[in-house]
C-alpha cells in the first residue's frame, strides 16, 4: 500500500482528488459492512399509508404476509459530521514542508469525503481572527464540493476566538452529530479547552484531532536557535541543548494534562503527527469509532 504522505498529497493541489485518494486508501481492507452508507441498514417495518412511495414497499414480505409493509432504514438516523478547523496563525507551523493547517485541511477534506460517501451531512466551521466562519451541515455532492472549496480558500489568521465570538458557529446545527476538532491546541489561556468543554457539556460528541510535529515532539531543532511564536511574533533566543530537557518535560506534562482533562469530559483525544500518512491519520481519527 502506498503511503499517502501529506506533503505529496498537498502538492497535488486538487483537494477533492486528494480526499478521494485518502478515503480510498482508508477504505482499503476495511470491512465494508461496518461502514455501509446510511439508508441501507434495516431499522423497522411499518404499514403502508396512502401517499407512501410504492417503491419502498417490501415485496418479499408482501409475498409472505399478503400485507403491504414499508421497510424503514437508518437513513433518517444518519449523523452530521461537523468539522471544526483551527485556523489560527499557530497552525502555520511547518515541518518538512507541510504546515499543520495544510495537514488539517487535507484531513478535514478526507473526513468530509468519507462522510459524504456514507451519506452523512457535513458542516464546516473555521475558527480564526475575529470569530468563526461556519458553513451549515448538509448532505450531497454539492455540499461536499462547497466544503472542499471553502477549505481550499481558507488561510490561517489571528488566534482562536473567545467563546462569545465563536459560540454561534460552534453550537449551530441540531440532531445527532460528530464534531471533529482539528487543532494544534495552542491557546493563549484556555480558550480552546473551554470551547471543547462547553461543546461536550451540551451533548456534542467531540473528537479532538491534535496535530503535532515530530520535531515539535522531540525538540529536534539543533542548538543555535531563534524561536518565533506565530500568533504573537515574539522571538526567543535559546540554546537548544540547554532548554531541550525543560521543553520536553513541559510538553510532556502539558500533553498528559490535556489528554486527562479531555478524557474526563468524555472528549475523544487523538494525537496525530504531521509525518503520519494521511490515510493512516484518518484511520487514527476514526479508529475508536470503528471499534464501536
Amino acid at each position: 500500500m502506498i503511503e499517502l504522505d501529506a506533503r505529496t498529497l498537498a502538492s497535488l493541489g486538487d483537494l477533492e482528488l486528494v480526499a478521494r485518494r485518502v478515503v480510498d486508501g482508508f477504505m482499503f481492507g476495511t470491512h465494508p459492512s461496518r461502514l455501509q452508507g446510511a439508508g441501507v441498514e434495516f431499522s423497522q417495518y411499518r404499514s403502508y399509508q396512502p401517499g407512501d412511495d410504492i417503491r419502498r414497499i417490501d415485496w418479499k414480505l408482501f409475498a409472505r404476509s399478503d400485507r403491504y409493509f414499508l421497510r424503514e432504514s437508518e437513513v433518517e438516523t444518519s449523523v452530521t459530521v461537523r468539522l471544526i478547523l483551527d485556523a489560527s496563525d499557530s497552525m502555520r507551523q511547518e515541518e518538512d514542508g507541510v504546515s499543520k493547517f495544510t495537514f488539517a485541511r487535507l484531513l478535514a477534506a478526507s473526513l468530509a469525503t468519507l462522510a459524504f460517501r456514507q451519506g452523512d451531512a457535513v458542516g464546516l466551521t473555521a475558527l480564526l481572527a475575529g470569530g468563526a466562519r461556519a458553513w451549515p451541515a448538509s448532505r450531497g455532492r454539492l455540499n461536499l464540493n462547497r466544503t472542499l472549496r471553502e477549505l481550499e480558500r481558507l488561510s490561517p489568521a489571528g488566534a482562536w476566538p473567545g467563546w462569545r465570538d465563536a459560540e454561534g458557529a460552534l453550537l449551530s446545527g441540531s440532531g445527532r452529530s460528530i464534531t471533529f476538532v482539528l487543532t494544534d491546541l495552542h491557546e493563549r489561556s484556555t480558550e480552546i479547552r473551554a470551547a471543547l468543554r462547553k461543546l461536550s457539556a451540551l451533548g456534542h460528541d467531540v473528537a479532538v484531532l491534535h496535530l503535532i510535529g515530530r520535531r515539535e515532539l522531540e525538540f529536534d531543532y539543533g542548538d543555535d536557535l531563534v524561536f518565533e511564536e506565530l500568533e504573537t511574533g515574539r522571538t526567543l533566543d535559546v540554546s537548544g541543548s540547554a532548554v531541550r530537557a525543560h521543553y520536553l518535560a513541559s510538553l510532556d506534562g502539558a500533553l498528559r494534562a490535556v489528554e486527562l482533562e479531555l478524557g474526563e469530559q468524555r472528549i475523544e483525544y487523538t494525537r496525530i503527527r504531521l509525518d503520519t500518512p494521511l490515510d493512516a491519520a484518518l484511520r487514527q481519527a476514526l479508529v475508536r469509532r470503528l471499534r464501536r
Binding site: S90, M91, R92, Q93, E94, K100, D184, H186, E216, Y221, D224, L225, V226, F227, E228, E229, L230, E231, T232, G233, R234, T235, L236, D237, V238, S239, S241, A242, V243, H246, Y247, S250, L251, A254
Partner: protein
C-alpha cells in the same frame, strides 16, 4: 599612567577572541516558527544563545571586561603628578649669592626667564636632596639648570632624578664689592733651562694673554705658592722640589711624554693634592696657539682634565650630573595603583554582562 609590567599588555590580544567569534557567527539565523513558546524556559532558564556573542552590546561589554583584565595583568598605576602639566625648565642658583652679584647677574637671569627658564634660589647646603625634592614636584620632562659657584657642596650618593639636570659654573666671588678684589691672581712660576729660554718668554706671554682675557691678574714668581702653577720647560724631569710643590696642591705644566703624542694630546694625573698636566703644547718651540687655549681651558680649574677621583670638595662637574631615570623606574615616586580599581570595574561589568545575557529575551515585535 604607567604599567608595572608592560608585557602584560600583550593580554589585550585576547580581545580578538570574542571579536573573531562574533564575526564568524554573525550570519543571520532564520527563526524557527512555532505555535507557542510556552514550553520554552523563561528568563530563569540558562540561555547560552546570548553568550553566543551575537549582540553588539554584549560583545562590547565582554571585550571591555577582557580589556580591563588585560590592563590588570599589566599592573597599571597613576603618578600622583598630574600628567597634563607641561614640562618646566628651572634655573637654580644659590640663595647665598650676594645681592650685588645678583644685581650683576640680573640681566642674564632676565633673559633666561624671557627664554622660558624659571629662576629658583636654593640654599644648596645639601644640593642633592634639594634637587631631589625639587624634581619630585616637577612634571615629567622638566629640566633643571644649576648655575653654581665652582665649589658645589655635594655630599652623599648621587640621586636619580627624572628631570634633566645640567650644571654650570660661575665664579661669583670675583664680585668687587663683595671681595674687594676685582681680579683673581694667577700665580705662575715658569722654570726653564737655557735651551727653553725663548719658550719661557712665550709661555709667560701666553699666561699674560689668558689673564688679560679673563680680566685676572698674573703674578709671576720664582717660587710659586702651593696652589700656583708651574710651567716646567726642560727636557729633564721636574725637580723633587717642584714635585713637592705639586703634592702640596700646585699644578705642574710639562711637555712630558705627551710631546710624542701630538700637539693636541693633554693628559693629567694627580700627585698628592696637585696635578701634573702633560701637554705637547707645553715647551714646544715655537709655542703655538694651542698653548694659550689650553691654559684658558683649564684655568682656574685644571681638574677638568683629571680622569681620576677628584679631590673632595673640588669635583669635576662632568662627574656631577645626577643619573637620569624615568619616573616609572623610581621606587620612591608616589603612585596610585589601579589594579584593584580595574578588577572591581571588570567584576561589575561581568555582572552586567551576566544580566544582559540572561535578561528577558524578547519583547513582542512591532
Amino acid at each position: 599612567m604607567g604599567f608595572g609590567w608592560p608585557p602584560g599588555l600583550a593580554a589585550l590580544a585576547a580581545l580578538l577572541v570574542p571579536l573573531l567569534i562574533h564575526l564568524a557567527r554573525r550570519r543571520p539565523r532564520s527563526p524557527v516558527l512555532v505555535g507557542t513558546l510556552r514550553h520554552l524556559p523563561g528568563s530563569t532558564a540558562p540561555r547560552r544563545a546570548r553568550s553566543r556573542i551575537s549582540e553588539p552590546l554584549l560583545l562590547a561589554v565582554r571585550m571591555l571586561v577582557l580589556a580591563l583584565l588585560a590592563l590588570f595583568i599589566a599592573q597599571p598605576f597613576l603618578d600622583r603628578h598630574r600628567p597634563s602639566r607641561p614640562p618646566r625648565a628651572l634655573l637654580v642658583i644659590p640663595s647665598a649669592i650676594p645681592e650685588v652679584t645678583l644685581r650683576r647677574l640680573l640681566p642674564a637671569l632676565d633673559s633666561l626667564q624671557a627664554a622660558g627658564l624659571e629662576t629658583r634660589e636654593l640654599p644648596m647646603a645639601d644640593l642633592w636632596s634639594e634637587l631631589a625634592e625639587l624634581d619630585a614636584g616637577l612634571p615629567p620632562g622638566s629640566s633643571i639648570v644649576v648655575a653654581a659657584p665652582f665649589a658645589l657642596p655635594v655630599t652623599g650618593a648621587r640621586p636619580a632624578l627624572e628631570s634633566a639636570v645640567s650644571l654650570h659654573r660661575f665664579d661669583w666671588t670675583r664680585d668687587s664689592s663683595s671681595s674687594g678684589d676685582a681680579t683673581q691672581a694667577l700665580h705662575v712660576s715658569v722654570i726653564a733651562d737655557t735651551s727653553h729660554r725663548v719658550a719661557a718668554a712665550r709661555h709667560v706671554a701666553a699666561f699674560q694673554a689668558v689673564a688679560e682675557r679673563r680680566g685676572d691678574s698674573l703674578v709671576m714668581e720664582a717660587s710659586s705658592s702651593d696652589d700656583g702653577w708651574i710651567a716646567w720647560l726642560s727636557d729633564a724631569a721636574p725637580s723633587p722640589a717642584v714635585l713637592e710643590r705639586v703634592r702640596a696642591g700646585g699644578t705642574l705644566l710639562t711637555a712630558g711624554s705627551a710631546s710624542s703624542a701630538g700637539h693636541e694630546a693633554v693628559t693629567a694625573q694627580r700627585l698628592g693634592s696637585g696635578l701634573i698636566i702633560e701637554a705637547a703644547a707645553v715647551g714646544a718651540p715655537p709655542v703655538d696657539a694651542s698653548f694659550p687655549e689650553l691654559i684658558a681651558r683649564i684655568w682656574p680649574d685644571p681638574t677638568v682634565l683629571s680622569p681620576t677621583e677628584p679631590e673632595p670638595g673640588r669635583i669635576s662637574t662632568s662627574q656631577l650630573l645626577p643619573a637620569r631615570v624615568s619616573r616609572t623606574d623610581r621606587a620612591d615616586v608616589p603612585r596610585t595603583e589601579l589594579g584593584s580599581v580595574l578588577l572591581a570595574l571588570a567584576f561589575a561589568l561581568f555582572l552586567f554582562e551576566r544580566w544582559l545575557s540572561h535578561r528577558p529575551a524578547s519583547a513582542p515585535r512591532a
